[in-house]
């Protein structure tokens, strides 16, 4: 009888989800005594460090959470059709949109880099960075240390720039090609602001360019900048110049250098001093064109006391050949700022025999520059043929906090080598790592994490927990924790468990009338709940569905 942890209590941390107040605040009937928006308003006026305000906020939040949770249960009355749909469905985002593309020819050389820059009408300094990165990349070798088997990639056989032709840059809603809008509608991402009740602002990126950013104007009134990276280069060159590459320099690694040379689009977020961003900001990435790689950059800057929660989602069509995705995400958090970054990664994972799928090589890193700043990464990784990804935090400010919550699923022939780095530099810095790996089929799942406490990081604390769940006997789970401590006052804890779903657990569910497939879905979602709870509610529901789809057919 194998069981995973049973001592731990799981608490629903509903009240942490700012998005909820908006989601339900708008949907709740007016009769219900509490309005989400007014709570948020109160929150803005509350002091962030005052204990009384903290208590008051807790009380409000708990009350709101109560109303919300009841309502949420009611709202989800029709969850089972979703389950049904899920247990039948395969990769449902695999369609291709027929669009005329404005693409550069295949291959990579200095000319291509110059042409990408020219297409985007970039200033000279940015082209210089690209060229430096490209030249540096030529001298590099791809990293071989990961627990991954990757066939050689022909970098000359990839298209580095492809844009849907009809899209006019920075246009209004009416200017966007209806075919594009339809695509995002099919993905469940309406770009029409009228349809957006849920308090999400979206930047939709198709292949190499941003299609549309919603709510740009209303956010602008608060001084928040949320735009495509290309727009930001034009409109806020000083900010880009100051921060781009400051966390992930182009010399960082092979894929970061490649991205810095050929990156096409992505999102830029700037939250000014003291502003709490009132909605979830999200970017939706879609690879559509064949033979095309996607190389986006995301840059998030939170000034003193600012707060933002950012979400990223990704899908791609089903294709027989592998496609490359190499992105960079940089986060800068100043004093007292907080950035939450959530990802639901659902790139096409390849078919049951391991054919096709996305190679996902991503460098994500945030720096807690200021004191008491906080960066939190949450990721649900269900897609991609290969995942190579280590969202990290550099904890420079005193008492700054880094968090990493991850669920990674590998089924069939998928491989994932993922984890995090927590670099403690400032005093009293704290970090938490919760990683939940799930392997099924012939999937290989590795956690790789580094906790480094430098000489001056007095009283640094880290808690790491790495759990692996195995479904079947042909899959693998691996844990590679690296701990480097140069300060005697540090406390670093690491816990790891490996478990299988117990037959007794499945029989218990069966005996209550629940079939085995559904039972596994329940158990896996329960296992991942600590992480799923960290996601904004809408994403959490989506992620639960995803987990179920990803593990379909893995029984027995």
């Amino acid at each position: 009888m194998q069981k995973y942890k049973n001592q731990r209590q799981y608490h629903r941390i509903i009240y942490k989800n700012q998005s909820l107040y908006y989601v339900y605040g708008l949907i709740l009937p007016a009769g219900i005594a509490i309005s989400g928006a007014s709570i948020l308003e109160l929150q803005i006026n509350l002091h962030s460090n005052c204990y009384l305000c903290f208590l008051f906020r807790r009380i409000l939040n708990n009350f709101a959470a109560l109303v919300i949770s009841v309502f949420h249960v009611i709202m989800n009355g029709d969850q089972d059709p979703i389950l049904k749909q899920v247990t039948q469905g395969e990769y449902k985002y695999g369609f291709v949109t027929d669009l005329d593309n404005d693409a550069l020819p295949k291959g990579l050389n200095e000319d291509i880099v110059r042409r990408i820059s020219a297409k985007k009408e970039e200033p000279e300094w940015l082209l210089e960075i690209r060229l430096k990165a490209y030249r540096y990349w030529l001298t590099m070798k791809k990293p071989e240390w990961a627990h991954l088997k990757i066939p050689p990639i022909d970098y000359q056989d990839i298209i580095y720039y492809s844009a849907p032709k009809s899209n006019k840059p920075a246009g209004s809603f009416e200017d966007v090609d209806p075919e594009l809008l339809k695509t995002f509608d099919r993905l469940g991402i309406p770009l029409d602001e009228q349809k957006h009740l849920s308090g999400f602002a979206v930047d939709a990126v198709m292949d190499s360019i941003s299609v549309k950013t919603t709510f740009k104007e209303s956010l602008g009134e608060l001084g928040i900048i949320f735009s495509s990276f290309s727009d930001a280069v034009r409109e806020h060159p000083d900010l880009i110049k100051k921060y781009m590459g400051s966390v992930v320099p182009y010399r960082d690694n092979f894929y970061a250098a490649l991205n810095s040379a050929v990156f096409s689009d992505g999102s830029f977020v700037y939250i000014p001093k003291g502003v709490r961003c009132p909605m979830e900001l999200s970017t939706y990435f879609r690879i559509n064109a064949a033979n095309t790689g996607q190389f986006e950059r995301t840059l998030i800057v939170a000034e003193e006391g600012a707060y933002v929660s950012y979400l990223e989602g990704c899908t791609a069509p089903m294709r027989d050949e592998n496609q490359l995705h190499a992105a960079i995400v940089e986060i800068i958090a100043h004093t007292d700022a907080e950035v939450k970054y959530s990802t639901v990664q659902n790139w096409y994972p390849g078919d049951k025999n391991g054919k096709g799928g996305i190679y996902n090589f991503v460098t994500k890193r945030g720096i807690c520059l200021g004191d008491r700043s906080k960066i939190s990464w949450t990721q649900v990784e269900t897609g991609s043929a290969v995942t190579w990804k280590y969202p990290s935090c550099i904890l420079r400010g005193e008492s700054s906090v880094g968090e990493f919550y991850s669920v990674a699923v590998t089924n069939n022939y998928q491989q994932a080598d993922t984890g995090t780095k927590m670099i403690h530099i400032g005093k009293n810095t704290r970090s938490t790592i919760v990683s939940k790996g799930i392997s099924a089929g012939k999937g290989q799942n590795s956690y790789r994490g580094l906790v480094r406490v430098t000489k001056n990081a007095d009283n640094a604390r880290n808690y790491s927990q790495c759990d692996s769940l195995l479904l079947g006997d042909q899959c693998g789970a691996h844990t590679f924790p690296y701990i480097e401590v140069d300060n005697e006052s540090a406390v670093v804890e690491h816990e790891a468990t490996t478990s299988k779903i117990g037959e007794d657990q499945i029989f218990y569910c069966n005996q209550r009338g629940i079939d085995t497939e559904t039972a596994i879905g329940l158990i896996v979602n329960g296992y991942a709940r600590e992480v799923l709870n960290k996601l904004p509610m809408e994403f959490a529901v989506e992620a639960q569905k995803l987990l179920q789809i990803s593990l379909e057919g893995s029984v027995g």
Binding site: K3, Q511, L522, G526
Partner: protein, 250 residues
């Protein structure tokens, strides 16, 4: 409702059930008693469809149809409930979610529409009150961190939620102090109806002071060796299981 005819079952080639015969009609409560290792829990598991055991002979009819070929979940949906001797923990899965999934799967099987969330919450509330169960239970994970008594109460609570036609309670009394035993028994008694039946498996007569059976059967070495009314339980308590063995040998 249930008729067991000459049922034989093995585990790893070792025969545990050596020909069980039992008739259970609607409205009846049957107690099965017997010493450790006599096959009581095996019988419960075989009826619920646990695949650890191999049925090597005999048949079981549930409401007139053969039961043994059915999967555990289909048996459950048809109305068979097993109260586990050792309830299983499922971390991270809330009781609400678990019960809701179970009820809706069962309703689907019976061609009923899914229960609305409001109705479901009301049902939870009513049954919790009926079973005198702590209202925090719903938000806790299935059996995780429950005390022995809480786990057993939780089994009876699930039984109340699912309203089975036939409930098999496998040593529900084991590990309970007298107060917990009374609560569990009261709960069970509230669920007794003319149209359902129960098989109560127990080692001790004590439980039967609170759940009064219509019939008592004594299982020994894989066979029912003696059947009678509730007085048989007292006799057993007084004379011990050796009495049966001796009597059998004669």
């Amino acid at each position: 409702m249930l008729s067991i005819r000459n049922l034989k079952a093995t585990i790893n080639g070792r025969e545990i059930l050596k020909g069980i015969n039992l008739e259970v009609k609607a409205g009846e409560v049957h107690a099965i008693m017997g010493p450790n290792g006599s096959g009581k829990s095996t019988l419960a598991s075989v009826l619920a469809g646990r695949d650890l055991f191999t049925v090597t002979g005999g048949e079981v009819l549930f409401e007139g149809s053969p039961l043994l070929g059915l999967s555990p979940e289909v048996r459950a949906r048809a109305g068979i409930f097993l109260g586990f001797q050792y309830p299983v923990e499922i971390p991270g899965v809330s009781m609400t979610n678990f019960m809701r999934t179970a009820i809706n799967e069962q309703r689907k099987y019976r061609g009923l529409p899914e229960m609305s969330a409001t109705d479901f919450l009301k049902l939870m509330r009513d049954k919790k009150a009926l079973m005198e169960i702590d209202s925090a239970l719903a938000s806790r994970s299935v059996n995780e961190g429950f005390s022995g008594g809480e786990k057993k109460k939780n089994e009876i609570f699930q039984m109340a939620m699912l309203e089975p036609k036939l409930a098999i309670l496998d040593e529900t009394d084991s590990g309970l102090d007298i107060d917990a035993l009374k609560t569990v028994a009261t709960g069970v008694n509230r669920l007794r109806r003319p149209d359902n039946a129960m098989i109560v498996i127990t080692h001790y007569q004590r439980l039967l002071d609170y759940i009064v059976p219509d019939f008592v059967h004594v299982l020994s070495a894989g066979r029912i060796v003696k059947s009678g009314d509730k007085t048989l339980a007292y006799e057993l308590e007084e004379k011990g299981y050796d009495w049966i063995k001796e009597e059998n040998e004669i």
